[in-house]
Symmetry: C2
Subunit: 194 residues, 2 copies
């Protein structure tokens, strides 16, 4: 069965894809993009290095604009990112019978709550799968063993997280992304199998 | 790395074991038994059919006696089973660096909450892994594709769930298990690979 894994090129979504692939599912990696910035490129590279099928799904700018409005209003990114992720999951749920992402047990955002998950599955007659059975220790250990990894400074905007287009949009409208996100942190990109 | 999967011979714990095995972990299936009834036999059969290493871990009767006391007091099994499961997980956490079980997103019992999980991991310096990223639809579909399955009437006491020894103990002390558990339901035993 075809399964869409929402893919950033990071270790969480790579591990999710690996699990479903090894259980015999027909995995397609999907990176969403809102036409603000070509942030999907890192994910495309990672997907190629792992030899998975990869698609970029262009979604309506309105979604990210609304997410950024929320972030500016709140002064912090959590609700905006959650809103964005929920919209993204709803979109891909119209296209695939199985939708998965790399959200883990210890993540706070993005995260659908159990009622949102059940409603998503029932309304669209799909399955939604996450990494919520695993904590960060397990995911770090497994991905260090499975994947070649590269650390990337988030400032460089070279990953495919939602954060990149959000930061770009915030800058574009004359605000400072640093006021809403931690000034600089490291993200991990998967660059191949070990 | 050695990973203990708490194993009943059912599809949830079999799927958990399969995932960890296919991620390259050294899986050991463990079925606990309190010396009340030889309910571990079904799990041993399933483990053999799947060609996984299997151990029976004998635990102190006091644990199941206390669980049964809770069940009789409450009039329903949830708290007693949760208590039992928590004790079991704590015991195996002393012996293995990774402890996994087949608890799923939609299970209500047995289930450790997030604080219990973090405390378990930190206190014992272990990883705890579950199937909580998956709902029943996903687990049913995957296990139907991976495993040969057999349905078993719970009345026959031929599975290796906690419920079997609990029912046996309740009967032994002159009470009716049917007053505390649904009178008859079907459980699934894994009897091989497809």
């Amino acid at each position: 069965m075809k399964a869409c894994v929402l893919f950033s090129g990071g270790k969480d979504s790579s591990l999710m894809a690996t699990i479903l692939d090894r259980l015999g599912m027909d995995v397609e990696l999907v990176t969403v993009n809102f036409g603000i910035y070509d942030s999907w490129k890192a994910a495309a590279e990672s997907a190629k290095a792992l030899d998975f099928e990869h698609k970029v799904l262009k979604l309506n700018k309105k979604i990210i604009i609304k997410a950024v409005e929320k972030i500016l209003e709140d002064g912090f990114p959590n609700n905006g990112i959650n809103y964005l992720h929920k919209k993204v999951v709803e979109k891909v749920a119209k296209k695939y019978p199985v939708v998965a992402d790399g959200t883990r047990r210890d993540d706070r955002v993005p995260k659908l709550n159990i009622d949102e998950i059940r409603s998503l599955e029932d309304k669209n007659d799909i399955e939604y799968i996450t990494l919520r059975g695993m904590g960060h220790k397990t995911i770090n250990r497994l991905s260090a063993r499975l994947f070649k990894l590269r650390k990337i400074d988030s400032k460089l905007m070279k990953t495919s997280d939602y954060e990149v287009e959000i930061r770009y949009l915030i800058k574009k409208i004359g605000e400072k992304p640093e006021s809403y996100f931690p000034p600089s942190h490291y993200q991990t990109q998967v660059i191949g199998w070990k």
